[in-house]
């Protein structure tokens, strides 16, 4: 049974008073299995982020069906989608998206907080994950006291904290220099080896080489999909 199955997903943005329609995705079919590591590539504006947002249940497609863990999520309401994001998905963003006023552990805890876990359990898990991404010395630092690479590690720990079915990463190394980017990629490789399913948007061919599968988008369609 596949983890993710997209069946003719389309997304059309309507601008203004409905005069201008922007087709961002036009019939995307995609199947991803548990434990895969796939890179999504394509020119700017080809619909990578749009696809990732739909996969991440942040957005709903205007057409087609999306089965996540064999549940059709394309039609769920906002509340149900929030629950799925909370319990089954992990996000890593290009610009880290940490909450500036929270410390490292507090940032890592956020998804657990919304699961309603006890404070003690949240804290234990957050500390363990901070150690796993190599930040045991920075538990109570604020994001602006960390380097970009460290911030992205916090984001990775945060994405891991709810044991997600899949981690969705939108250009996770886009803001980092190549050395730091490599460290982050090494961490992601390690996670994948440990069993985490990864979907990663990237512009960088070297980055894509590390993934075991490369999906290319062009004008909202899948142009190619092959395994390295």
């Amino acid at each position: 049974m596949s983890l993710i199955k997209l069946d003719h997903i389309s997304k059309t943005y309507v601008l203004g008073d409905g005069d201008v329609e922007v087709p961002a995705l036009q019939g995307v079919d995609l199947t991803v299995n548990t434990g895969e590591y796939a890179a999504i590539m394509g020119a700017s504006g080809s619909g990578k982020s749009t696809l990732l947002n739909i996969l991440g249940c942040l957005d709903r497609p205007t057409g087609g069906q999306y089965f996540l863990d064999s549940q059709n999520v394309a039609t769920l309401d906002d509340n149900r989608l929030s629950r799925i994001r909370c319990r089954q998905l992990g996000f890593i963003f290009q610009s880290y998206n940490l909450i500036p006023q929270l410390s490292v552990v507090e940032n890592i805890e956020v998804p657990l907080f919304y699961q309603g876990q006890s404070e003690r359990r949240c804290r234990e898990r957050a500390v363990a994950l901070a150690e796993r991404v190599g930040l045991s010395q920075r538990l109570f630092h604020k994001p602006n006291q960390l380097s970009g690479g460290q911030q992205q590690r916090v984001a990775i720990a945060r994405a891991l904290c709810n044991d997600p079915l899949v981690i969705l990463a939108d250009e996770p190394t886009g803001n980092l220099d190549s050395a730091t980017g490599k460290e982050i990629l090494a961490l992601l490789d390690e996670l994948n080896r440990a069993g985490t399913t990864l979907l990663m948007v990237t512009h960088d061919d070297h980055v894509a080489q590390r993934a075991r599968r490369v999906i290319r988008l062009r004008d909202g369609r899948i142009a190619s999909d092959h395994f390295n």
């Binding site: 991440g56 942040l58 929030s82 956020v110 998804p111 699961q115 309603g116 709810n162």
Partner: protein
């Protein structure tokens, strides 16, 4: 379905507010002053109305007081006798007797006469009001003795030359000594002091029963009748003008409070028949009490409106800040939404911030609103009264203001599109 405990949200609210402490405090001030104003104004208002109600109650809510008044249209209508302008008016013994005889449900009818006299203790003098009283005067009026005794039935029989003096008379004539048993001179006659009255609350005079300068001297009714005759000549110093008044007051005590108003009407009809000039006035403490209560209620309503307005302003202040807060934290909202927060979680988060603001503001306001009137009371002697309902009300309103004015910003926050919010810089 409430995924978040109230405690955690309030904690989060406190944390977020503490982060912008100055801003939070400034926002809170609106509520603080609003609540303080309500509590303080209500305490002062309640105190004032309580005090005047007590005063009127001390006149007896079962009493009807009828007072002689000079009819307005004739001041110098009568031809002068003995070269002195004289006006005859007012209540008579006959009035008192008629009331006693014909009206049902009357407990006591108590006539009072008074005359202004110079009162002497050797070379000390006071201008006092001599009042002819009966032994049950105290019981009817609710006034109290400070020392000694009041006029007795024996005094009445014997037409004894005894008197009970008011506190001001004592102060003036006997500043350093005990007046009991001493002799004072009232007009031309000498009287032995047998009792001293307790001072009357200032302002009690408004009901017409007593003057509040406490310069009364009470002598037995029978004695007064024997010494001053049936009528009393009042000579006003400047103009050689005399008034002839038989009774100055008639005090009617009714058996039952329910009967006060109907009986007052009956007295009115009775008197109107014999006094076409309307040279009397009927005072009903019960009615005064009701009027005071009514005006106190009005006062409370006005205060309530002022309070509502100031709390409204405070609430708008909170809403304004919270809207700015939502805009400022758009990205945080996006992040939280992406990580699994539902609309409900975001609503609760922002709502709990406003509730924390307004409740903390409400508590501070309560403190201020209780302290201020107490200080005022301490320095001015004004009476203040805190009622549980006024404290609860103002506190409840402040919490409600937080909720009401927090709902819109929280709703705005919750309904941001997560993707747009994440893109926000």
């Amino acid at each position: 379905m409430l995924r978040l405990g109230l405690k955690r949200n309030l904690k989060l609210g406190f944390k977020n507010l503490a982060r912008h402490l100055t801003r939070s405090i400034l926002t809170m001030l609106g509520i603080v002053f609003g609540v303080a104003a309500v509590v303080a104004m209500l305490a002062i208002g309640e105190g004032a109305s309580y005090e005047s109600q007590e005063r009127i109650k001390s006149l007896g809510s079962q009493n009807i007081i009828i007072k002689s008044v000079q009819p307005p249209e004739e001041t110098k209508a009568r031809p002068p006798s003995h070269g002195i302008a004289s006006a005859i008016y007012g209540l008579t013994y006959a009035d008192a007797e008629r009331m006693q005889a014909t009206l049902p449900g009357i407990d006591v009818v108590m006539p009072i006469r008074e005359t202004r006299q110079d009162i002497w203790n050797r070379d000390r003098k006071i201008d006092g009001l001599v009042r002819a009283a009966v032994p049950w005067y105290l019981q009817v009026t609710g006034q109290r003795l400070h020392g000694g005794r009041f006029i007795s039935h024996v005094d009445m029989h014997a037409r004894a030359a005894v008197c009970v003096i008011g506190s001001a008379v004592k102060r003036k004539l006997f500043p350093y000594e005990n007046p009991l048993g001493r002799i004072i001179k009232i007009g031309k006659d000498y009287y032995r002091v047998v009792g001293v009255m307790q001072p009357i609350l200032s302002g009690a005079g408004e009901a017409g029963l007593v003057t509040d300068n406490n310069a009364e001297v009470y002598i037995p009714f029978t004695t007064a009748r024997a010494r001053f005759g049936k009528t009393i000549l009042k000579v006003s110093a400047g103009s050689f003008e005399a008034e002839t008044v038989e009774l100055h007051l008639i005090f009617v005590k009714v058996t039952d409070m329910e009967r006060v108003l109907p009986l007052a009407e009956m007295i009115e009809t009775l008197l109107a028949r014999y006094h076409p000039r309307r040279d009397y006035e009927i005072i009903i403490p019960l009615k005064l009490l009701e009027e005071i209560r009514r005006s106190a209620r009005m006062f409370s309503i006005v205060l309530g409106m002022i309070a509502a307005i100031s709390l409204l302003v405070g609430g708008i202040g909170i809403m304004n800040i919270m809207l700015a807060n939502v805009t400022e934290r758009t990205r945080e909202i996006g992040i939280r939404r992406a990580l699994g927060a539902g609309k409900r979680d975001i609503t609760i988060q922002f709502l709990s911030e406003t509730v924390v603001l307004s409740v903390v503001g409400g508590v501070l306001g309560l403190g201020l609103g209780v302290t201020l009137p107490l200080l005022i009371a301490l320095f001015t002697g004004l009476k203040v009264l805190f009622t549980a309902w006024s404290l609860l009300l103002s506190f409840g309103i402040s919490a409600a203001v937080g909720l009401v004015f927090g709902i819109y910003p929280a709703w705005r926050a919750a309904n941001l599109d997560p993707i747009q919010a994440l893109r926000h810089v």
